[in-house]
């Protein structure tokens, strides 16, 4: 854990810094992916920027609405930079909706767009895991394994690093699927990356202590990951013509 980076008398919180760096790196990844796929980077970069910005504002607004009793007599607190609670769910929802409507407005094709966006999304998710690792959030379950890390005085799985490993594997799958040797139909790199990342999260979330549970003790994230993995595989199994038809609604 390294929640603060001490530079002389100044202590910089590492998690927000990693989020900022992650956003920049995600946008860079989208730009590079567009060029690699032979697409015009500008509209895709703009879509990713709009989604990130809307997600950031949406996450803050959702947090403020949920905790309104803490802000109703201190409106300065809403924009005070050091009072920065965010609601991830609200951010994801608003960011995804923005991306969807922006893509419709710019008339971007679904599968080629997703192929370019997915490396940016995975890079951002990896940044979230790294920020959690440095800040101490999203920690792992107890372990006696030698690779466990000491957190809050006890040895735990470094589950945030495992998540980053899943991200790296997904990026590797995307890179392979977009290489000239293995290049296939539109949508294949996106689906492969989703399948690999989801399968990875399905495995590593078993070692996460902060994960939401059902009443019977099942990890909710694992269930979502399994559904995404299976959906991705089903989509990959469908013939290319069927996938294209489903996009155009024919």
């Amino acid at each position: 854990m390294l929640p603060y980076l001490n530079l002389g008398p100044i202590g910089l919180p590492t998690a927000p810094l990693v989020y900022l760096f992650g956003m920049w790196l995600a946008l860079y990844a989208v730009d590079r992916a567009a060029r690699r796929q032979g697409q015009e980077p500008e509209p895709l970069y703009a879509l990713a920027s709009a989604a990130l910005l809307a997600g950031f504002v949406g996450a803050r607004l959702t947090f403020v609405l949920v905790h309104w009793s803490s802000f109703d007599d201190n409106l300065l607190g809403i924009i005070w930079p050091l009072t920065s609670g965010y609601s991830a769910g609200g951010g994801v929802l608003i960011g995804a909706a923005t991306a969807f409507f922006y893509g419709r407005w710019r008339r971007l094709s679904l599968w080629p767009t997703l192929d370019v966006l997915v490396p940016g999304l995975i890079v951002f998710l990896m940044a979230v895991s790294l920020a959690d690792f440095l800040g101490g959030a999203g920690y792992g379950s107890l372990t006696s394994m030698p690779w466990g890390i000491n957190q809050f005085g006890v040895r735990r799985h470094a589950v945030q690093l495992y998540e980053m490993g899943a991200g790296l594997a997904a990026l590797g799958a995307w890179w392979t699927a977009t290489s000239p040797r293995y290049r296939g139909a539109n949508g294949r790199p996106f689906l492969l990356a989703v399948v690999v990342y989801s399968a990875g999260r399905l495995f590593v979330d078993a070692f996460k202590e902060t994960t939401p549970l059902t009443t019977s003790g099942i990890h909710v994230v694992q269930v979502v990951a399994l559904v995404l993995t299976l959906l991705g595989l089903v989509m990959l199994a469908r013939p290319v013509e069927e996938r294209a038809a489903s996009q155009t609604g024919e």
Partner: protein, 182 residues
């Protein structure tokens, strides 16, 4: 046809293995008893213990309050340069008087010197314990990234709520009443 069969086999296999892994890795005691407690500054966990000095030089240990079902603790992370922190400090002073002996209100400063904190307390008539954490040891232990942050710890030392942002008098009293009722 053969390719289709291969895909169906793969999807079935992944589904079975995935469902099996989810079943094996489920929390076996969820819903049937208390979750084993571990130490972490998050809701439902034991609050990490610490010992710090107040501006008066008095040594304060968190576990002294909560050991053996003792006194609930309201732990407020703050700094003199943080405007929202300054807004809420009179509320903490009020509840410290209202619930004297029933709830411990602790102001845990971020990285400032004892002299700076003492000067601020004197100017603003603050009498509740203000703890000095100049080397950020406890701030880092609790992973405090935002100011103010207020942590509500029940009489058993379990974190009940982590509230990021300014708190008002009504919410503060409400949360303290909840802590005392548990």
């Amino acid at each position: 046809m053969r390719e289709r069969l291969e895909w169906i086999t793969l999807i079935g296999l992944v589904g079975l293995l995935g469902a099996g892994w989810i079943y094996i890795s489920r929390e076996t005691n969820a819903g049937v008893g208390p979750t084993p407690l571990t130490t972490a500054p998050y809701v439902g966990n034991l609050a990490p213990d610490f010992t710090l000095q107040t501006v008066d030089g008095q040594s304060i240990t968190l576990s002294d309050y909560v050991a053996g079902g003792g006194t609930p603790v309201v732990l407020n992370f703050w700094a003199t340069w943080c405007p929202p922190c300054r807004v809420e400090m009179p509320y903490f002073e009020n509840v410290n008087g209202l619930y004297d002996g029933q709830v411990a209100v602790l102001g845990l400063n971020q990285a400032e010197s004892a002299a700076t904190i003492a000067g601020y307390a004197r100017d603003h008539n603050l009498t509740y314990p203000l703890l000095v954490d100049q080397d950020m040891r406890v701030n880092n232990l609790y992973g405090i990234l935002n100011l103010p942050t207020t942590i509500f710890i029940d009489r058993n030392g379990i974190v009940r709520e982590v509230l990021i942002g300014t708190i008002n008098q009504g919410v503060l009293v409400d949360r303290i009443e909840e802590l005392m009722g548990e």
